[in-house]
Amino acid sequence: MNPDPQDNFENRLRAALQPVEPSEGFADRVMTRIAADAVKRARMGASRWFVMALAASLVAAIVVGEQWQRRQEQAGIEARRQLLEALRVTREKLDLAYQVVNSEARSPSRDAGS
C-alpha cells in the first residue's frame, strides 16, 4: 500500500519544523536581563517618586500662591471698602459742619435785622 502523499507532506513539514534549542546559556542571559530590569525598574521607581514629589511641591506652591494672592485681593477690597466708608463718614461730617456754619452765618444777619 502506497503512503498517502498528504500525510507524507505533513510528515515532511513536521520534520522541517522540529523544535530547536537556543544557544548555550540562554537561561543565564534571561536571568541577567531580569536582574538588570529589576535595577532599571527600581531606578525608574525612585525617579518616578522624585518626579511625583516635585510635581506635588509645585502644585502645593501654586495652591499656596493662589491662596495668598486671593487673601491679598480680599485685603485690598476690604481696605477700599474701609476707605470708601471713611470718605462717606467724612463727607457726612463735612456736610454737617457746612450746614452748621451756614446756619450760624445766617443767624446774625436775622438778629441784626430784627
Binding site: 505533513e10 519544523l17 522540529q18 523544535p19 530547536v20 536571568m31 531580569i34
Partner: protein, 204 residues
C-alpha cells in the same frame, strides 16, 4: 503522538510546574531559572520558526520570559504556564512581523536543525522552512503551532485568539500553498541540471 515540545517537558509540566511556580512567585530566582530552562525550547523554537532568525528569536524569547517574570502572579497554575508562554510568544512574533516591512524570510543554515530521520530530505525541509516566510504572520503561526508544537485547531485558536474555523481555513490554504510551491521548486531544481547537461551537449 508525542508532543513536539518533548515528553520530558510534559512530565515536568504535570509534576513539578506548580511547585516551581509557587517558589518562583515567592522570589526564588533559581526556581524561575528552572522554569526558563524547562520552557526555553518551546518558546525559542516558536520564535525561530516565526521570525526565521536566531538572534531575533533569542530577543523575542528573552522578552517573553521577562514578561513572565513580571506577570508571574497572573499565572494560575503550572498547567497554564506553557499555553500562556505559547500565546505571548506567538502574539509578540506576529506583532514584530507586522512591524517589519517584508514578511519573506531568507533562511540561513542557522535556522535549520539536525533531522535524525534516516529518510530525511534536508533540502526539502530547508525549502519548507523558507516557504513559511511567504505565509502571512497569522498563517505562519497556525502552521508552526500545528506542525511544531503539535497543537490541535482548538488550542491553536485559543493561542492566537481566533475562531477554530479560521484556524482550519488557514491550515488548509497554507498547506495547499506550501505543497504547490514545494512541488514547483522541486521541479525547477530537477529541470535546472537537465538544462545544464543539454547546454554542454549542444554543438558549438
Amino acid at each position: 503522538m508525542a508532543r513536539a515540545d518533548g515528553h520530558g517537558v510534559t512530565e515536568w509540566e504535570t509534576r513539578q510546574a506548580d511547585e516551581v511556580l509557587v517558589r518562583a512567585r515567592g522570589g526564588d530566582t533559581a526556581a524561575f531559572a528552572e522554569l526558563v530552562r524547562a520552557q526555553q525550547r518551546m518558546v525559542f523554537s516558536l520564535g525561530v520558526r516565526m521570525l526565521a532568525d536566531r538572534q531575533k528569536a533569542e530577543d523575542l524569547a528573552q522578552d517573553v520570559f521577562l514578561q513572565l517574570h513580571r506577570k508571574l502572579s497572573s499565572i494560575q497554575s503550572g498547567a497554564h504556564l506553557a499555553p500562556w508562554l505559547r500565546q505571548v510568544t506567538a502574539r509578540k512574533a506576529i506583532d514584530r512581523l507586522r512591524r517589519e516591512p517584508k514578511h519573506e524570510v531568507e533562511l540561513t543554515a542557522a535556522e535549520g536543525c539536525a533531522v535524525e530521520e534516516q529518510d530525511a530530505d534536508p533540502l526539502l525541509e530547508q525549502q519548507l522552512r523558507g516557504l513559511l516566510g511567504e505565509l502571512s504572520p497569522h498563517a505562519r503561526a497556525v502552521i508552526v503551532l500545528r506542525f511544531q508544537d503539535d497543537l490541535d485547531p482548538v488550542d491553536i485558536a485559543r493561542a492566537l485568539d481566533m475562531s477554530v474555523n479560521t484556524v482550519k481555513s488557514h491550515l488548509q490554504r497554507s498547506l495547499t500553498f506550501l505543497r504547490e510551491r514545494a512541488t514547483r521548486k522541486n521541479l525547477q531544481a530537477s529541470i535546472r541540471p537537465l538544462r545544464a547537461v543539454n547546454a554542454t551537449r549542444e554543438p558549438t
